[in-house]
Symmetry: C2
Subunit: 321 residues, 2 copies
């Protein structure tokens, strides 16, 4: 009898723990930045792993650096395992590629030989670049599900439709994609990730609407403003590549602190001044002497809205509740 | 009078120093390996800087990793300067790309925005891959001298003709290229680098003649055998990607210790048993658990010729006299 009682108590405790874990995974996100810079250093290029809190079911938002980034994350105790290859295989459930530029996908292509079968989600224009430029036999090998034969069929291309949310298998996450302009008419993407009622927005490379002669960012802000108002959009990851001294004609589809603030003012206005609820993570700073310090100073000076603005660190896990 | 005498002595000393430096640069090579592995870790992919001894006028044989490799070389005191970007700009005078696979050229493409005008030497088939797959506006930007418009014209394509030696401007070096087979009919290259009477041979990825159903390596060995006999070929950099357990059909145009030795026996026979005069540097080991140890052990066991075989270390300068 006593044993039965103990077993029952043990079972209930295990259920409670399980329930707590489930509840935990229904709130917020864990992000492991595998690469945070906008160029040059091959071991630190744009890639952000995102999972529901309390799980290791990550999706990779862009994949500029994978292996070297996981090595940094292991050093920083962001994973329990210590094999970068095993972590890539087991913990990354899908890739989302914002656009076809090498600094956003080199890690995916270079590590394909070691990886296991997974989906690659992207807009059709981006899949075309992967298919025609990278996963070919002259430039690498065709590890994907379409394109030049022989097809190795490890990665399955999953074309995205703008604004349509899809659930990502083997994760707790759903994603909707939005089109961005990155040197008009070239297309980049933003990914809105949802875990239950919490949202995170990641933008690939993008120019400002004024410079790109586009309304893509305004459309994105209009779509996510209700989530900002409702305090459901927990974080925005957004690029600032150059400091304010860079002339518009030399921006090549990127943002400066001034243009970032111009765009964030639009979003703040559309969300009735509630953008303070959302933490802004600045990505993709292009390295040069003192660039990082200059950009941070200019963002600080331009932050008249008093927004929470911060900088992801390669390998250091971010917990958003 | 005394001042004049001192000035004359000083002038002679400076001439002697200058002459000594010139002689020095006419013997042997300095090699800085910027990346030595055959995959996965984006910060350590095939790239070998080679200069005449006593100079910093390097050519880059392949360019898988540039910036992260120069960082490692700075840590290891292989350069006097401490800015990777400045070292790339000033010390690399030309790139030689063996074939179009991403792990041999990602560093060149990713660092192009920071670089200055330079030549890229390669066979026409390799230039076609750079032109059609990498230096395009959908996959990156066209930093080269031909291809998709607008042309940024930073890099000038210099097509190589097999067996024809060319002098490389702004260096003390001359180079002849030889065609290799890397999954027949795909072409890779070997580069024979000359500094006065000293030679160094670098092979990009290559399969063995028996597996590739090719005679490309036999042709190369025939061409360089006289240099081995004359003790002028100081070093061979050659790939071993997999251990002996990898079946031929899964080699994808690469070598194992057994196939390496099979090829080196051919070269040794052609050069009347003089291959001991040449140091063999093993490149491009593909990472996996214990692969490196297994490959080294199998090479040691297979080295019945008693050749000098060694392993380059990322960032650590090699001096060959």
């Amino acid at each position: 009898m006593i044993l039965k009682k103990y077993l029952t108590i043990l079972f209930c405790i295990s259920l409670m723990v399980s329930k707590a874990q489930t509840q935990n995974s229904k709130t917020g996100f864990t992000i492991v930045p595998l690469g945070v810079k906008g160029g040059l250093d091959e071991s630190n290029l744009s890639a952000y792993l995102v999972a529901a809190n309390g799980t290791t079911n990550y999706i990779s938002l862009d994949a500029g650096t994978i292996n070297a980034g996981i090595q940094k994350a292991i050093e920083k105790k962001s994973f329990n395992e210590n094999s970068p290859e095993e972590i890539q295989k087991k913990c990354i459930k899908a890739y989302f590629i914002s656009h076809g530029h090498l600094d956003h996908l080199a890690g995916l292509v270079l590590n394909a030989p070691n990886d296991i079968a997974k989906p690659i989600y992207a807009f059709p224009s981006v899949i075309d670049v992967l298919k025609n430029n990278y996963f070919t036999w002259k430039s690498w090998a065709n590890f994907a599900s379409e394109g030049e034969k022989p097809i190795l069929n490890k990665y399955t291309y999953k074309p995205l439709i703008a604004g349509k949310e899809i659930q990502i298998p083997n994760t707790e996450l759903s994603v909707s994609a939005y089109s961005l302009s990155h040197v008009n008419p070239y297309e980049s993407s933003a990914f809105l990730v949802r875990n239950a009622n919490d949202y995170l927005l990641y933008l690939g490379d993008t120019g400002a609407d004024t410079v790109e002669k586009s309304n893509k960012l305004t459309e994105l802000w209009t779509a996510v403003a209700p989530l900002v108002k409702a305090a459901k959009l927990k974080a925005i990851f957004m690029e600032v590549s150059f400091d304010n001294s860079m002339p518009d004609k030399a921006l090549f589809g990127h943002l400066t602190p001034k243009l970032l603030m111009q765009e964030l003012h639009k979003l703040n206005d559309l969300s009735e001044g509630k953008l303070k609820n959302t933490t802004i993570y600045i990505t993709h700073i292009k390295p040069c002497a003192n660039c990082e310090e200059t950009i941070k100073q200019q963002i600080k000076e331009g932050n008249q809205l008093g927004l929470q603005i911060t900088y992801p660190v390669q390998g250091k896990a971010i917990n958003i509740r």
